[in-house]
Amino acid sequence: MITTTFQTARFGEITVEPADIISFPQGMIGFPNSPDYVLIQHQENSPFYWLQSLSIAELAFLVVVPTIFVPDYAPEVNLAVVEEIGISEETPHIVYTVVNIPRGRPDEMTLNLAGPIVIQPETRRAKQLVLEESKYSLRHRIKDEPAERAA
């Protein structure tokens, strides 16, 4: 197996096998010039992963499988997307969502349920969707907001 090494800001030098690469033909939203990523688990047994760019060392998005927190989450994947990354009705696909945690405030963690990442597990082609007029929030709070917050 031919492996390639990449420099990353968070993980230093990483070694990647071709089969590990997840390819976004159109990039992540806002980052059209970085098509290739790998998933790096935050820690052993953690549900959180970093989607590390292989072209921009500093770029790594924190992602998680959203159904861990939102069991009934079921974004609609439209036909154009299905064709673009080669998903059919029968193909199982993996969904991740982008996680945000304001610095020093882990209780305020949110998931972007309006911009899920869909991965075709066999070809490892992927796309970040934009769910328009969706019931899903861009900043879905995981923990309930405190009833009253000290100023």
């Binding site: 939203i29 806002g30 992602v63 036909l79 945690i101 610095r103 970040q128 934009v130 861009l138």
Partner: protein
């Protein structure tokens, strides 16, 4: 930026296969119809920008803030 004036039900063609039509004008709201090939992605700019912003913020998360589950 190219600026064109259109009336109700008039259209603009972009290339051969994209057509944008003014469907309704009501006060400050304009309803626009877009017909484009399926591989052309069309979004409201605000939603796109917000997702971009969420992506950017996510890439700046401090790993020490990630909860253990």
């Amino acid at each position: 930026m190219l600026v064109l004036t259109r009336k109700l039900n008039q259209s603009i063609k972009i290339g051969d296969d994209i057509e944008i039509t003014v469907l309704e004008v009501r006060g400050e709201q304009v309803r626009i119809g877009i017909s484009a090939p399926r591989d052309v992605v069309v979004h409201r700019k605000e939603v796109f920008d917000q997702i971009k912003q969420e992506n950017l913020a996510s890439s700046e998360v401090d790993a020490s803030d990630i909860p253990d589950l």
